[in-house]
């Protein structure tokens, strides 16, 4: 294998680190299985690497990645069709790529925003938001004070609000009105 110049390698690694996880989630929506999704994404990156010297990194590679993962996932399903009484897949039904891409965009944005938080802040935010741990539990687990947990959570919210600001403005969600009780 020819040795590629260093900057291309560094760009490729960055591409890999930024997109690997969201691409696996994307594939999982289609193939439903984490290990399969992982393998599909790995093979997409290997193929991409083989063409690496033809990539122009100033242009978005993302659509290519998503399309390849979509194709790989759909091909996998086609080759491993399972017919059970509940899950009979209608061969006539086309799985539309755009069915999954809408939520994918959201996941990717949010994944990138959280990944860009400073390490400790991210860790504390994830414990609170995804593991539903109370501040005291987090403080005990990480051997820090509750005040520190509060400060880090505030920092996380502040940074995430900035990173997701343009994205939030176009979304409508149903919120619980705390202050509507009289």
């Amino acid at each position: 294998m020819a040795t590629l110049p260093n900057t291309l390698y560094a760009n490729f690694e960055k591409l890999f680190r930024d997109y690997f996880t969201p691409l696996v989630w994307y594939s999982m929506k289609i193939v439903k299985d984490q290990d399969t999704a992982r393998e599909i994404v790995h093979s997409v990156f290997v193929k991409l690497w083989e063409k690496a010297d033809t990539i122009d990194f100033t242009r978005p590679v993302k659509p290519y990645l998503y399309t390849s993962v979509y194709n790989g996932s759909v091909n996998y399903l086609r080759d491993h069709k399972k017919f059970t009484s509940e899950e009979k897949i209608d061969p006539g039904a086309a799985i539309q790529q755009h069915d999954h891409l809408e939520t994918q965009e959201a996941e990717e944005r949010i994944y990138a925003a959280i990944a860009s938080l400073p390490d400790k802040t991210r860790e504390i935010f994830e414990l609170s938001r995804f593991e539903n741990k109370k501040y005291q539990e987090i403080a005990d687990k990480l051997n820090i004070s509750v005040k520190t947990v509060e400060a880090r959570m505030s920092e996380a919210l502040k940074l995430l609000r900035v990173k997701l600001s343009d994205y939030i403005k176009i979304l409508i969600i149903i919120t619980i009105e705390l202050f509507s009780r009289n």
Partner: protein, 338 residues
């Protein structure tokens, strides 16, 4: 902003509210803040959305990107050729399992064992400086100056991905620059990784520590093949790896004579006798024992360059009013004190 006051956003209150931790009193305070200005409701709403949206990732699997990147690299660069065993030896899987198997085997024997195991399919050279200081040149032109007793094992030809050697004892490495192929020294379970630089390694088999001091350039140290927690040191710095604690600690190098054993040049500026004797020990391969506490901290300011040991000892005896006596190969030092 009607009266020009700065807008204060009670982030702690908001974060406690969103995560369900806020008390009634805190909710009242938040209500008050909301009432202060119509903008505040909008701000709270934005934070509510951030909280809600991040929830879509709840329950999704996370991946160790370092592991995945490693997996990717293995996919694109498989070493399936049986003759290319050095690639295999350099790979993380081999070292991971090998060190578990070979835990009781002394460092110097490890490469010997693997050579036995794999037969004559690849050739490596093992060299030990038995008589004293020895200078050797490696296949890539890098130079290693071995102190007495040091041993190094290296392949006939380095692989195309890296330059891997194993080592024990003390040596001064002058590594040729090759950014495409990092130079990796394995000693016990420590990996020392460089691109092109010069540094001293002290990895005595019966010592609990491995010490690396950088002369020029930069060196990275990590355990086994796991570069996740690697530590970098530059010229003027020293790293000590504590074998049983699995800990690498970085500090400033305060020993100006760390290369004395290869250059023969020693400079002491108010150094205590105990330190002086340590340096002499590494240069002249003699063991020194201080018989009296009183002379341990006697200070010495002097330099030596390529002098024979008897001459050096004579100067010390006169300067510090001490006496050296040789007893069964060990030098004992005594004196009335300073």
């Amino acid at each position: 902003m009607k009266n020009g006051k700065d807008h204060i956003i009670p982030l702690e209150l908001i974060s406690r509210f969103l995560s369900g931790e806020s008390t009634d009193k805190e909710n009242d305070m938040l209500n008050q803040w909301l009432a202060e200005s119509p903008e505040n409701a909008g701000i709270l709403e934005e934070y509510r959305k951030v909280w809600a949206h991040t929830g879509i990732l709840e329950g999704k699997p996370v991946f160790d990107l370092d592991d995945e990147w490693q997996h990717f690299q293995e996919n694109v660069n498989p070493s399936k050729k049986e003759n290319d065993l050095w690639n295999f030896l350099a790979g993380p899987k081999f070292f991971g399992s090998f060190y578990r198997m070979a835990a009781v085997v002394a460092m110097g024997l490890i490469l010997g064992y693997s050579m036995f195991y794999f037969g004559k399919q690849f050739s490596t050279t093992s060299f030990q400086a038995q008589l004293g200081k020895e200078r050797i040149e490696l296949p890539d032109g890098s130079v290693v100056i071995l102190n007495k007793g040091a041993e190094i094992t290296y392949p006939e030809k380095f692989s195309k991905d890296n330059r891997l050697v194993s080592f024990s004892g003390e040596a001064f490495f002058q590594i040729q620059k090759d950014p495409e192929r990092p130079f990796i020294i394995r000693s016990n379970n420590l990996s020392i990784r460089v691109l092109g630089t010069s540094f001293n390694v002290k990895a005595q088999p019966n010592s609990p520590e491995i010490e690396v001091i950088v002369n020029t350039g930069r060196v990275a140290l990590y355990e086994g093949s796991d570069r996740k927690n690697e530590k970098n040191i530059i010229a003027g710095q020293k790293a000590v790896y504590y074998k049983t604690l699995n800990k690498i600690s970085v500090s400033e190098n305060t020993n100006p004579n760390f290369l004395a054993w290869t250059t023969g040049k020693m400079i002491f500026d108010g150094s205590p006798l105990s330190e002086v004797l340590e340096v002499l020990s590494s240069v002249y391969h003699k063991k020194f024992i201080i018989s009296s506490e009183k002379i341990k901290n006697c200070r010495l300011t002097v330099s030596f360059e390529n002098q024979e040991l008897p001459a050096v000892l004579k100067i010390l005896e006169t300067t510090l009013d001490i006496e050296f006596t040789e007893n069964a190969g060990i030098m004992q030092v005594d004196g009335p004190g300073c």
